[in-house]
Amino acid sequence: MEKRAVDLSLLDGVLQEYAPVKGSLITILQHTQEIYGYLPREAIELISEKTGIATSEIMGVGTFYTQFRFEPVGKYLIMLCQGTACHVNSSELILQTIKDELGIDDGQTTEDGLFSLKCVACLGCCSLSPVMMINEDTYGSLTPDKTKKILKELREAAQ
């Protein structure tokens, strides 16, 4: 996917509010990701400049937590739950279905920039397992057929 130029002025408000507050690095990174969809290198450099925290340390923190990404993601971010209840209820089949349908692996984005796939820790909707979240919406009691249908609908909606 093509990366767009990063408009660093979008970070002004966040940095003004949190840069002076000690211990706020994770909060700043969370807001940054909310703005850009990932943590752009330019933004990390600016955060370093404003907070006085070395870029190496910011990268150390950023790579430690699973929430943070360093590459842009597709329009639809599929987060497939890998919790115990989902495992017991065959989430592996759902993973295989998504891989087959989209031709991507965990952590990858489709060429058209529409879908990204990420396997995540338990989403906490265990009663509906197997479960996935696509952007803000949760989809439960998945079967391979249901999964295919959801992906098809999203693809059509995007056109």
Partner: protein, 580 residues
Amino acid sequence: MRIVIGQGSCGIAAGAEKVRKALAAQNINAEVSITGCIGMCYLEPIVDIYDDENNLTRLVKVSENDAEAIAKFVNCGDKAAVESLVVTDEDSEFLTKQTRIALRNCGIINPEKIEAYTNAGGYQALKKALCDMTPEEVIEVIKTSGLAGRGGAGFPTWFKWNAARQSAGEEKYLICNADEGDPGAFMDRAVIESDPHNLIEGMLIGAYAIGAKHAVVYVRAEYPLAIKRLKNAIAQATEQGIIGENIFGSDFSCDFTIKAGAGAFVCGEETALIESLEGHRGMPRLKPPFPAQSGFWRKPSNINNVETFANVAWIINNGGEAFAAMGTEGSKGTKVFAVTGKVKRSGLVEIPMGKTLRDVIFDIGGGMKTDKPFKAVQMGGPSGGCIPADLIDTVIDYKALGATGAIMGSGGMVVMDESTCMVGMAKFFLDFTAKESCGKCIHCRIGTKRMLEMLERITKGEGREGDIELLEELCYSIKDGALCGLGQTAPNPVLTTIKYFRDEYEAHINEHKCPAGECSDLIEYKIIADKCRGCTLCARNCPVDAITGSVKKPHVINTDKCIKCGKCYQSCKFGAIVKE
């Protein structure tokens, strides 16, 4: 008339918001509002209808297409319109057989309105503590209650509070661990989403007891709805002066902040959580000093789990004795379990300690949802273990569960049937802990990785003689060599599965067979000629053209070509394809 729709995360995912919108579009003579998680997750979306005498009609598995029927029932009293949706007596027992303290308001009150909480007696315990009790008296009541940490370790709550109280220093912190990371556990999320003020009240009482002026909640970023409702609750409580300066006219003041975690299981460990709160990588600190002496910003800090705090207001209102009257000698009060997996009725179950696993899984949970027999229950997530079917009468008690090799844990209870491979289960958890190991201690960082590699080999049929013994040896060295709870308990899933299901390990290693039929490298798909109707569906679904046969004639799988994807097995409508 009042219509209340269950809108916890599970309910919304099942379609509760669509139902709410559909109902709002109907012309209904009733107030439509929301509540949090009712706990009967397997019946979501749930719509509760209260008449003017407060009699409840509960409708389950409601869809947006039922809105018209519901309008008929509410407006004209036409019960026949909704008859098929009314909850059965059997399903109602799921709730009536429980004893709800931590969850007492969940699924009943509106979590987005502070009045709903105060009308249910909320904030009276805080008022009582601040106006009529000294901090020492509060700690004494908690001591009498026998309340222990519900996050997993089961450490006496009063002891931690007292240690933080005794610690010198003006600036202290009261922290709530809402980083519910155990896969298969969601009771903390349910409490925050459904009754956030109960958490706030418990925390404020705790802050008063230890002498803290700052309360902090560290909550998983994966729980956006919980964060939203908690933020809303904090704003309401602040507006009413329940959070802030001189609460209830006393000289106790306390502020409140939320920090969202960023996804790291190890941050459930209290010193790692503190590191994360300070904006660092969440790597555990050496203990001592304990957080009670030197915690957040090196100040005395006390950390408890959500469910622990959710019990506090009830205990202050009803007395420590009332709480201690429930449970066993060593484990008092109630415990919430998130019951999931292959169980018929999955959801949240709160019961007094001293009940048995059978009570939870069979009596309340309704037993298995498949026709396969119960095999084991996994408790305590990656730190816990698998308890086999013949120990189903084990009493729910910290000690009794610990004796099986599993732990009480935070309350995840994942039920498994004969189709779950126990070696695969151990591999699943090791994969999790190996990824989540923070890397500080060599035993944990490399040990879990080596164990995972061995388990991967075994499940591929490449196991060697001596692997089981080597696994055990690694387990004990990781337990000895790791600094924090994550590492020390990471071997538990392996140790318990070896202890109770050694034969399965041996079958994988010696016979290259997976008795549960789950490990794809060790199974073969076959078509039973008698059952095959020759519908050709399997052949059409096979991605590698390994299935041949003509229409209306039995088909055959070429095992040399087969990649064991299982697509034929899923597609066959006649049960003609088997795994061997």
